[in-house]
């Protein structure tokens, strides 16, 4: 069996909405999950059960209340639940990619630049980064006339493909995918499935949310059920 890439232990998350009368939403508690290199795990459960919350917590975009998120990183391990900001950013730069459900567009930054950025951040020269970004956009059927434009005006499907290109280009050892094919047609879904299978063969550990049962069957090794949380009486 391949080595562990990600190991989550005792994870707990609740939201406290102070501006709304202090309402508490308990999302999960005592959550354990281990993912090996080359493995693809699909988070499963009804809408609102906490799939996106878990992915965001793994990326340290959301804080957690307890537990650890150990990530194999730079010849050692980093704990995304506790690491300093600069250590988290280093994990994101070199180890962990995240394709969010919706692209967060940066005003005025063109699609090609957005896709190339993860490479640029690793010190790859502009020219090479741009040519690889172009190749990835072409593979995802984003027409070349759009590459120089900021994606704010793109269709949902085009934005999502820019987002996917950005997520896959850096060939990270761990990849988090939040419904990457939701807005795509069959041809582009097939491209994404190929990209995922390629990354798996290269040893990337993947945690994803996949609405589309066909894609899920094609790329996932197992389901991870987020148990509906029962509020203690």
């Amino acid at each position: 069996m391949n080595e562990l890439a990600l190991e989550v232990g005792g994870l707990a998350k609740r939201f406290r909405l102070h501006t709304q009368g202090g309402v508490e939403i308990e999302v999960f508690r005592d959550l354990d999950l281990a993912v090996r290199a080359g493995e693809c795990v699909a988070l499963h459960g009804p809408s609102g059960c906490g799939k996106s919350t878990l992915l965001r917590a793994l990326y340290a975009n959301y804080a957690v209340d307890a537990g650890s998120i150990r990530v194999r990183h730079a010849k050692g391990w980093a704990d995304m639940a506790r690491a300093e900001p600069r250590a988290i950013l280093d994990v994101r730069r070199r180890t962990m990619g995240y394709v969010s459900q919706f692209l967060r567009v940066i005003p005025r930054v063109p699609a090609l630049e957005i896709v190339a950025e993860p490479l640029r951040q690793r010190g790859i020269a502009a020219e090479e980064a741009h040519s690889r970004a172009g190749a990835m956009l072409a593979r995802l059927n984003v027409p070349e006339r759009l590459w120089g434009l900021a994606p704010a005006t793109f269709s949902g499907g085009e934005q999502q493909r820019v987002n996917i290109a950005r997520g896959f280009i850096a060939e990270m050892p761990i990849l988090l995918l939040d419904e990457p094919t939701a807005a795509l047609d069959a041809a582009n879904r097939a491209v994404v499935a190929d990209l995922i299978l390629e990354r798996k063969r290269a040893g990337t550990a993947i945690v994803g949310i996949f609405h589309d049962a066909e894609i899920r069957a094609q790329v996932c090794d197992r389901l991870f059920e987020i148990a509906p949380f029962k509020v203690a009486a």
Partner: protein
């Protein structure tokens, strides 16, 4: 330990009173090379007071600001003699004011505004100074034909870009910015932010940027301090603080803007 393994700035329990009131109380953090830290909070929360204490312009009543110098190890900036502190301010630190009038000399040309900073750190060769000034005007997207014009004749956005050039020409290691996009139109702000983003990455600058605009820190800052009534109520990775704020005040701040 090499300098890379050390914070550039180590701030310990910084406190400053005005009368009986603490404008900034017990603030601590480390700033690392290449790191951009945003300081957010409503007006009067102590952001400018903190920035002034950090940038050697306002002596704190308690606490220390430790700076990792290029060659002489760590110094407490308020233990330095005045002349030493002045030298560091010229060579190692930049300061971008909200109002360009406070950071520029309005009566001398754009080229001289940049050249002056170089001369203050010992440059003497006229041709080289002018070349550096021209190069920096280009980098901040000011047309070379304006090199002999006074900043008075410039738009607000151009003045702010000139102020940035004046600061960066001496290759400082830390730049302090107080509401750098404050008085500008939205479209002018966006252009300035693009420019700052690029320069920060290219020059591997450490930056402390004070702003009340959450969109600005979302774009520029790696991490955030949230201040309220002189105290830091929340600190952390920028996107985590903005997307999953923990403190009631931060939640209020984030929920009060349409989208950041």
């Amino acid at each position: 330990m090499s300098a890379v393994d050390q914070p550039l700035l180590r701030v310990e329990s910084l406190t400053r009173y005005f009368g009986a009131r603490a404008a900034c109380r017990d603030v601590s953090f480390d700033l690392w090379p290449g790191e951009v830290m945003g300081v957010v909070g409503e007006s009067g929360s102590g952001k400018t007071t903190l920035l002034n204490c950090l940038s050697a312009r306002l002596r704190p009543d308690a606490g220390r600001v430790l700076y990792q110098t290029r060659h002489e190890g760590v110094v407490d900036i308020y233990d330095l003699r005045e002349a030493e502190r002045r030298l560091l301010m010229r060579t190692d630190w930049g300061l971008v004011h909200q109002n360009p009038r406070d950071g520029l000399r309005m009566g001398v040309s754009a080229g001289a505004n940049i050249g002056e900073r170089l001369m203050a750190v010992g440059a003497r060769h006229y041709g080289e100074i002018r070349d550096a000034a021209s190069a920096w005007l280009g980098r901040v997207e000011i047309d070379l034909s304006r090199i002999d014009d006074r900043p008075r004749a410039f738009s607000g956005g151009m003045q702010q870009r000139l102020q940035i050039a004046r600061n960066l020409v001496t290759a400082p290691r830390i730049v302090f910015m107080d509401e750098p996009t404050g008085g500008l139109d939205v479209s002018v702000q966006a252009r300035l932010l693009d420019l700052l983003r690029e320069l920060v990455r290219e020059l591997h600058l450490s930056v402390v940027i004070v702003t009340h605009d959450l969109a600005v820190v979302r774009l520029l800052a790696h991490r955030l301090l949230v201040m309220r009534q002189g105290e830091v109520v929340e600190a952390g990775l920028t996107d985590q603080v903005l997307d999953d704020p923990q403190h009631p005040y931060t939640q209020l701040l984030v929920s009060s803007v349409l989208q950041a």
